[in-house]
Each structure stands twice: as structure tokens, then as C-alpha cells.
């Protein structure tokens, strides 16, 4: 094992060295990293590698099996595509962040223990945040901070779960965990945050559309798919996931219909597609898991392709991405338009395109398991995919009303990157046996049967027919410049409320403390500490002096001198010692 390296190391170390390389070699160097990484990867045999002792535990940086390998392959491919697409970016913050982010994702996928898994999991958040902030707009900054806070909360939840789990089982091995008890529930929820489960999801639709044009391509590929991998590894067959996944497929499509920002439409679409994977993991049969994993592979490619085509539109139109601002761009961006349509066809599961061969596996697994309601939800969600990703994205950007914009075609490197993704979308759809041969379990599923092809084609054409009728009759919702409230309302508005509540309660407490402690109590303590030694001392001494026969002016003189001595803290040592002794005797008697 001396001639191969942990896949994560190549990306992370390679990424950190990027700022040291100048000029045109930088592009070549960056493209070389995923290529070298891939050659390294295919030379790693299955098994457990790079075991490092840490305290009494073993850290494993290379748990290589069919599941982790498949994610490894696709992460390398999409890294190459995303780096090529971003080759014009001179900002080293983005270049380093993208590579470290990809490396962290590989670290997660090949981690064989919970400790290194957690470290890479957190690195995903830290690296990806720079892809959002690098846009350098106020909106990106805000969305980035919210993204960070949500992921920090999710990370802490995961950490708490891991600590409890390791404490209970005594092992840090990362494998099947299953849902039983608090520890596993916390781990489950920690994964759920990154997986964008319902109500935990708004970080995604908030932040991804605010990230840089090129950063979003990286973002769309790694965080959610690492969570899908983690669920497939640790919680396959967990029934709750079936419903969580089904809800994920269904609710974002309603939002996508009324959303104006096309990258936000794609973000909702991302949740919808991850829903199919989560549902498949929940069903947990070999076919369902194969479906979930193969759909993750295909989704990485077609979602990146769609984000790339929208990114190219933004790049060439000076940042325009709203439906209201775009339209008719097929005239001058035909190649980008074709790539977008290939992505749209793939996500819509058009026969011969990639979604057709993987999404149907999950649906078939639901049907085989007699999950009728789930199957109908997934079918409805498939119709929804057609609406927002299959039709809305290409239609509003490239067709629809003529915005009058005549931007140039996307730059060559972007076209090549989109072309590679488009190639794999068609290749995986038309020749699925290659993808199927890489799946974790043997595949018996046959996607191309006459009823399946006809049924799916009917679904697509009649959804498109409904779209045409709704548009021609003016019943489609008009595109509006507006914000649509989502679950992030609770912390975006709730955050302001929390701030005001803290302002009133904490600053109120400070004011009260100032008045009572600084204004009143300190003065009182000062007065008491001056007065009480005097009272105590004279209370003891005056009777003693009286007994000793000191009277009249002599007594007054003694009292005055004692008082002056105590006020100036110059009392004779004898008196101080006597007072202290009396005080101690009193305390002793009282105790």
C-alpha cells in the first residue's frame, strides 16, 4: 500500500498548494488533481487501508468497498467537470475551497471510523462556506452565516450522537448503525441536516442560489450526496426514511412552481431528487439501495449540468437568473440550451436519459414492497419534476418570451464541462449496464421494457400537454419578483425575535445590576465595612475602659482616637489583634 494514497489526501494537499502555482500552469495543475486522484483510486484494492492508531482506537482512512468506490468514482468525475467549468476563476479562495471540499467528501466516503468521518464531515461545511462567501455580496454573506449556523448545529448533534454511541458500544467503527435509542437518533438527525430533510432543508435553498456561479456546481454534488452515502451505510432499511424521502420528493415541487430564481428552482429540485434516494435507502432492499445509489450518481451529473447551464446564462447575462429577466436565449446560446435540455430530459427520466434507469428502480422497489401510497407520492413527484426542472428551467431561460437579451454562447471550457456531463447523462441512460455493474449489489432490474417506456413517455408528454394548455390559457402562475417563506422563516425572523428578547432581558438585567449593585450595594458595603469595625471595637472597649475607671474627657479622647485610627486604618496592632481575636471567639461560639 505504499504506491497509493488516501483519495482525500490528494485533493486536500493538492488544493492547499494551488496558491503557490502561478500563471497558466495553475489551470493544468488543478485539472491534474482529479485525474491523478482517479488513477490512484482505481489502483486501490477493496478492503481496509490506512489504519492509524489514535489513543485506544483505530482511525481508518480507507474503507474501500463497492459502495464507497462508486461514490469515489463519481466524486472524481464531477470534480474534474466542476474544475474545468471553473477554470477561468482567478480567485484562489474558490479554487482551494473547491478542492478541499471535494477532498473532504472523499474523506467522508472512505472513512471507516466515526472519528475521522466526523472530522471530514465538518471540513465539508468549512470548505463549502467559502464557495458561498466568495460571491462577496451581502445576500451571500447572510446566507453563508445561516448555512454555517445550521451545519454547526447539525454537526454538534452528530458529535453528541457519536460520543454517546461510542460510549455505549465501545467501538468507533463506521458501519451499519440502525435507529435504536438516543445516540443513534442524534446521529440520524445529524445526517438529516446535511441531507436537507423537511424542515431541516432551508439552508440549501437559501445558500446554493447565493453561491458563486462555479461554486454551486461543487455544492450541488457533495454535501447532500455524502449524507445519502452516510445513510446508505448506517441506516439502510430504516422505515422512517421511506416517509421522509417521500415527503422530500413532494413538498419542494410546489415551491419550485412559484419560484422566480432559476437556481433556487434547481435547489428545490435537488431536495426533490435526494428524496428519491432517501426513500430508496428507507425501503432497504437490494434493488432499492441500488436505485438510491445509482440515482445519486445520475443526479450528481444532471443536476450539475443544469446548474452549469444556468451558471453559463448568469455568466453571459451579467448575473441575471430570474425567470422575469430571462427568456429566448436559445437564439444566441444554442449549445448551452441543448446541454440544459439534456439535463432536463435526464432529471425528467425521459427514456435513453440517465434518470430513467435509476429513479424507476426506487419506484419499482416501492411497488414490489406493496407501498401503494409511497408509490403514488413518488409518481406525483415525478410529474412535479417535469414541471419545474423538465420544462420550467429550459423554457423560461431559453424559450418563453423574448427578453431581448442576445448574450454570447458560453465560453469553450464551460461548454466542454457541460458536454462531458451531458455525455454521461446520455451514456448512463442508453447503456445502463456499465453503471449497473458498479452498483453495490447485483442488478436484476431491466429498465427498458415496453410498458415502462410507454408509461413513462405518456407521463412526460401529457404533463407537457398540461403545461401548454395552462400557459396558453394564462392559468400558469405568473413569475413574480418575491420572496416565498419557507422553514427558514423560523430562524430568520425568529433570530430577530431572539435578538430583541435578549436585548430586553439581558440588557435589562445589566441595567438593574448597574443600579442595584454598582449604585446601591457597593456604597452600602463600603459604609458598613467602615462603620462595623468601629461599632464592634467601641462596643467592646467602652465597657472595658469604664471598668478600668476611665471617664469623662479621657474616655471621649480615647473614643475619638480609636475612631480616627479605625477610619484611617492605622489602629495599633494590639487593638487589631484583639478585635480579630474577639471576632474569631464570637464565630467559634456561634458555630
Amino acid at each position: 500500500m505504499t504506491d497509493v494514497l488516501p483519495p482525500a489526501a490528494i485533493f486536500i494537499i493538492g488544493g492547499l498548494l494551488v496558491p503557490l502555482i502561478r500563471g497558466k500552469w495553475k489551470s493544468a495543475y488543478m485539472l491534474l488533481i482529479p485525474v491523478a486522484g482517479f488513477i490512484n483510486l482505481i489502483n486501490i484494492p477493496e478492503g481496509t487501508h490506512w489504519v492509524v492508531g489514535f489513543m485506544e482506537y483505530d482511525l481508518i482512512f480507507g474503507k474501500v468497498d463497492r459502495l464507497s468506490l462508486l461514490f469515489g468514482y463519481i466524486f472524481h468525475l464531477i470534480s474534474f467537470i466542476a474544475i474545468l467549468y471553473a477554470i477561468h476563476v482567478k480567485d484562489d479562495v474558490q479554487n482551494v475551497a473547491g478542492l478541499v471540499y471535494a477532498g473532504s467528501a472523499l474523506g467522508v466516503v472512505f472513512a471507516g471510523d466515526l472519528f475521522s468521518f466526523f472530522v471530514f464531515w465538518e471540513m465539508l461545511t468549512v470548505a463549502s462556506i467559502f464557495l458561498i462567501w466568495a460571491r462577496r455580496t451581502k445576500a451571500a454573506q447572510g446566507a453563508g452565516y445561516r448555512y454555517l449556523l445550521v451545519h454547526a448545529a447539525g454537526g454538534l448533534c452528530l458529535l453528541a450522537g457519536i460520543v454517546l454511541y461510542v460510549n455505549q458500544t465501545g467501538s468507533i467503527e463506521f458501519g451499519y448503525i440502525g435507529l435504536n435509542g438516543l445516540a443513534t437518533l442524534l446521529i440520524f438527525l445529524g445526517f438529516g441536516v446535511n441531507c436537507a430533510w423537511p424542515f431541516l432543508h432551508p439552508w440549501l435553498t437559501d445558500a446554493y442560489p447565493e453561491a458563486t456561479i462555479t461554486g454551486t456546481i461543487f455544492l450541488s454534488a457533495f454535501t447532500t450526496k455524502c449524507a445519502v452515502y452516510a445513510l446508505a451505510r448506517a441506516f439502510p432499511g430504516t422505515e422512517a426514511l421511506i416517509w421522509i424521502g417521500a415527503i422530500m420528493t413532494a413538498f419542494p415541487i410546489f415551491y419550485a412552481v412559484i419560484e422566480n430564481n432559476l437556481r433556487r428552482v434547481l435547489s428545490y429540485s435537488l431536495i426533490n431528487q435526494v428524496g428519491f434516494m432517501v426513500c430508496g435507502i428507507g425501503i432497504g432492499t437490494q434493488m432499492a439501495l441500488n436505485g438510491a445509489v445509482s440515482h445519486a450518481v445520475n443526479d450528481i451529473l444532471f443536476k450539475a449540468l443544469l446548474f452549469m447551464s444556468m451558471g453559463a446564462v448568469m455568466y453571459r447575462t451579467g448575473g441575471k437568473i430570474n425567470c422575469t429577466a430571462l427568456g429566448g436565449l436559445y437564439r444566441t446560446m444554442p449549445l448551452t440550451c441543448i446541454c440544459c435540455i439534456i439535463g432536463a430530459a435526464s432529471i425528467s427520466a425521459v427514456p435513453l436519459f440517465s434518470g430513467f434507469v435509476s429513479k424507476s428502480m426506487v419506484m419499482d422497489a416501492a411497488a414490489t414492497g406493496h407501498m401503494q401510497i409511497i408509490w403514488f407520492i413518488l409518481l406525483f413527484a415525478s410529474v412535479g419534476v417535469l414541471e419545474h426542472a423538465g420544462i420550467k428551467i429550459p423554457f423560461f431561460a431559453f424559450f418563453g418570451h423574448d427578453s431581448g437579451l442576445r448574450p454570447k454562447e458560453a465560453p469553450l471550457h464551460m461548454l466542454i464541462a457541460m458536454g462531458i456531463a451531458a455525455f454521461f447523462c446520455i451514456f448512463n441512460g442508453s447503456f445502463p449496464s456499465y453503471l449497473y455493474s458498479l452498483l453495490p449489489y447485483p442488478v436484476e432490474y431491466v429498465p427498458y421494457t415496453v410498458p415502462h417506456v410507454v408509461g413513462q413517455t405518456q407521463l412526460i408528454f401529457f404533463a407537457a400537454f398540461a403545461f401548454i394548455l395552462l400557459t396558453l390559457s394564462g392559468m400558469s402562475p405568473s413569475e413574480l419578483r418575491a420572496v416565498n417563506l419557507d422553514a427558514d422563516w423560523f430562524y430568520r425572523k425568529g433570530g430577530g425575535l431572539f435578538y430583541r428578547a435578549m436585548d430586553i432581558s439581558m440588557n435589562g438585567l445589566t441595567r438593574v445590576a448597574d443600579r442595584v449593585i454598582v449604585g446601591e450595594l457597593t456604597g452600602s458595603i463600603c459604609r458598613i465595612s467602615q462603620r462595623w469595625p468601629e461599632v464592634l471595637c467601641l462596643g467592646v472597649m467602652i465597657p472595658l475602659w469604664s471598668v478600668a475607671g476611665i471617664k469623662g474627657k479621657d474616655l471621649e479622647g480615647k473614643v475619638e482616637r480609636t475612631r480616627a485610627a479605625l477610619q484611617t486604618h492605622t489602629s495599633p496592632i494590639g487593638i487589631s489583634a484583639a478585635t480579630a481575636t474577639i471576632f474569631l471567639v464570637l464565630i467559634y461560639l456561634l458555630m
Partner: protein, 86 residues
Amino acid sequence: MKTDNSEDKKYLFDKPASMKILAWSFFLSLVFLLALEFFIHKHTNFPQEEWPEFYCVFAFVGFVALVLSAKYILRPLVKRREDYYD
């Protein structure tokens, strides 16, 4: 980037003829798909799938229900001004 300054250049879908061909081929495909139903042997998992034209009707009704409920139910509930969070 140029903005629209000419009506001289006609692109593919600016021509009524190509739109006509597209529309006709689409509608013929719909008819073909409706007819195809009666010539294939379905492998169904649920009884509803055996209903004639199940996928055509489901897609059409589902699509319309989705769009209209998003427009008339969801949007009035969640739509706010663009500067709502600012």
C-alpha cells in the same frame, strides 16, 4: 452582450412554419401515445395502473393540480415582498 436591436434576424422558433411543425408533431405524438395503450401488455403492480390511459390521465391531472394548488394555495400563504428579510 448585445441587446435586441434588430428584427431582421429570424431564429428557428421565430418562424411560424417551424412552430406549426413542432405543434403538429407534438399533438400527433399525444394521439399516438393514447392509441399505443391498447397494443401493449401492461405489467402492473397496483390495480389503478390497469385503468385505461392511467399514466396520461395521472400526468395531466397531477400537473394541473400541482400548478393550480401552488398558485392558489401556496403562493398566497408564503409570498412576501422581495425585501421582506432585509
